[in-house]
Symmetry: C2
Subunit: 333 residues, 2 copies
DNA sequence: CTGTTAGCGCTTTCAC
DNA sequence: GTGAAAGCGCTAACAG
């Protein structure tokens, strides 16, 4: 015996009204006489009727679902963004389909297509690198898109970020202020605009203002991982650097630990500033000075922006920059 | 001018076949002559036809999406499970709707209902505490459910976990072996069966085997957070404990840091073993000995089990226990 | 304020 | 191997 699903039609019959009326009360349409509304509500209650969102989606062309493309939920940076996204989504009665891409071009395209096939009302994209192919799909589809903690050099779609350039400049300034001349710039792939353009330029700008010449040998490109940080010891030592601006907390803490494990005193002999102010920076000993990013808010604001886009509201500015801070801890003098 | 969506009907017309045939080729039904298949495929390509998954879901009563209820994605423990879930989901062509519950009863019920309304094919539930109301909804709906890293005392639904009791016993044994007599048991809410039943019993079992009497004053119930760990100093000191088995890594590292910050030597004067072997345990100094749980696998296996349930395959055992380990690091002698 | 009537785009018998 | 036709459960004009 199959599960007997009860439909809007059953409710209509039992309440002696039309499907349209039932639909109206379910959707909170005010054009229903209180008495009929009450009657319908009672039948709905009695029959334990639950509207089928799929049918609703097909008929109305709105699924109240948004797609979220994320490199990796297990990464705390992106997970924090995701939490902000989901909270605001829930607030506006949307659900999120979460899909991991590993930042892989093929997977991104794949997932984007299945998201579109599922008729999501909008998409939040997170990723270090926005490929032309992905950009192409974005403009080809009429589905609104917002980037969260990710940059589109052309600003074609909405996005929410902090000013990575200025933040990195501030961090570098701080290191210069305490007397460092040879400051390492440690980041993820430089092909990612957020690293290779924004952050690197912030670093260069700071150096330039202090008349320190840029040295290619102080630029370190690596994976965003604790292990990569641990593996940096020799290269950093050989470079003669006495401080480092790091683009990722795991990386920074890895560097910190390998330095202290090798007997290098932080911050006395080497200073470190990192970028996300995650729990890792508090747990490490010494704790790590860091730029603080409003990660949850970036996600939340991105989702809020997306709701406006999905609603076809007028947007004053679709490239949103949120404020950042610099939290001094024990890895700097 | 509205976006002109092209449908299966357009393809059928252009290819001079029926909708049924197009549907067959789209769904890989073998009952299509190679020649017609080729012709249809060409038209699909030319028109850039994308099947509408919502319509498909309505007609077939399968949405190929599963709901995932998670306390908090920003928590690394659950995020790791979620990653395993999504990878296997993708492997089997499912998408996941991710919904945060904060472990709150009301939100869990809410989210469960909207997931059901969206006609998900299955549900993965994560949560410390499975309330009767949630259990009721589970059995009321015919949608298959699997718990990941979460316990149902009654084993009514499928679940994937490790043997928390034995794991905690092993950890406690280890501490007893190195001479500790007063061992603190630090966990989250004892009302959660995983803490109050499994873990606590593992702890008690270990004590009993070594003829150490159980002392209520050594049981510490707190939030799963770094801050809660930091706040534990006085209570732990006053208890006279010389070691602790901790149920959560953030908590453990907080305890570790407050101890060392107060000059207590770990492991010489105090030993700590924690439960999840997350990156936190490697970052901390000293690094923290920990039970290791196959978090990714728990998620992956849970999702795999769910695919079988959704397929109505015969299941030999729906309560799955995965192996754990004990990774010795520097917080124990 | 309420009912009628078309679909939304696809799957799925059931014939042929 | 292929087509015709009947829905899936709901929304959205359009009347009245």
């Amino acid at each position: 015996m199959e599960k007997q699903t009860i439909t809007i039609y059953d409710v209509a019959r039992e309440a002696s009204v039309s499907m349209a009326t039932v639909s109206r009360v379910v959707n909170g349409n005010p054009n229903v006489k209180p008495a009929t509304r009450k009657k319908v509500l009672e039948v709905i209650e009695r029959l334990d009727y639950r509207p089928n969102a799929v049918a609703r989606g097909l008929a109305s062309k709105r699924t109240t679902t948004v797609g979220v493309i994320i490199p990796d939920v297990a990464n705390t940076y992106f997970a924090s963004l995701a939490r902000g996204i989901d909270d605001v989504a829930t607030m506006y009665k949307y659900n999120i389909i979460l899909a991991n891409s590993d930042g892989d071009d093929k997977k991104e395209i794949n997932v984007l297509n299945t998201l579109l096939a599922k008729q999501v009302d909008g998409i939040i994209f997170m990723g270090h690198h926005l490929t032309d192919e992905v950009r192409g799909e974005f403009s080809r589809s009429k589905t609104p898109v917002v980037l969260a903690g990710s940059i589109d050099p052309d600003n074609q779609v909405g996005s929410v970020n902090i000013d990575y350039l200025e933040a990195t400049k501030d961090a570098t300034d701080e290191l210069i202020k305490s007397g460092n001349k040879k400051i390492a710039f440690v980041s993820g792939a430089l092909i990612d605009p957020i690293n290779g353009v924004s952050r690197l330029n912030g670093y260069k700008k700071s150096l330039a203002e202090s008349k320190i010449s840029f040295n290619e040998g102080l630029v370190f490109e690596c994976d965003y991982s604790y292990k990569a940080g641990l593996g940096l010891f020799d290269r950093i030592q050989n470079s003669g650097a006495t401080a480092a601006v790091v683009a990722d907390d795991e990386l920074a803490v890895g560097l910190l630990n390998t330095l202290t494990d090798h007997g290098v005193k932080v911050p006395e002999e080497f200073e470190i500033i990192t970028s996300n102010n995650s729990l890792y920076t508090d747990i490490a000993r010494p704790s790590v000075t860091s730029i603080s990013q409003p990660l949850y808010d970036i996600g939340a604001v991105a989702m809020r922006l997306l709701t406006k886009l999905m609603n076809k509201e007028e947007i004053d500015e679709k490239t949103i920059i949120l404020p950042y801070g610099l939290i001094k801890k024990d890895s700097t003098k």
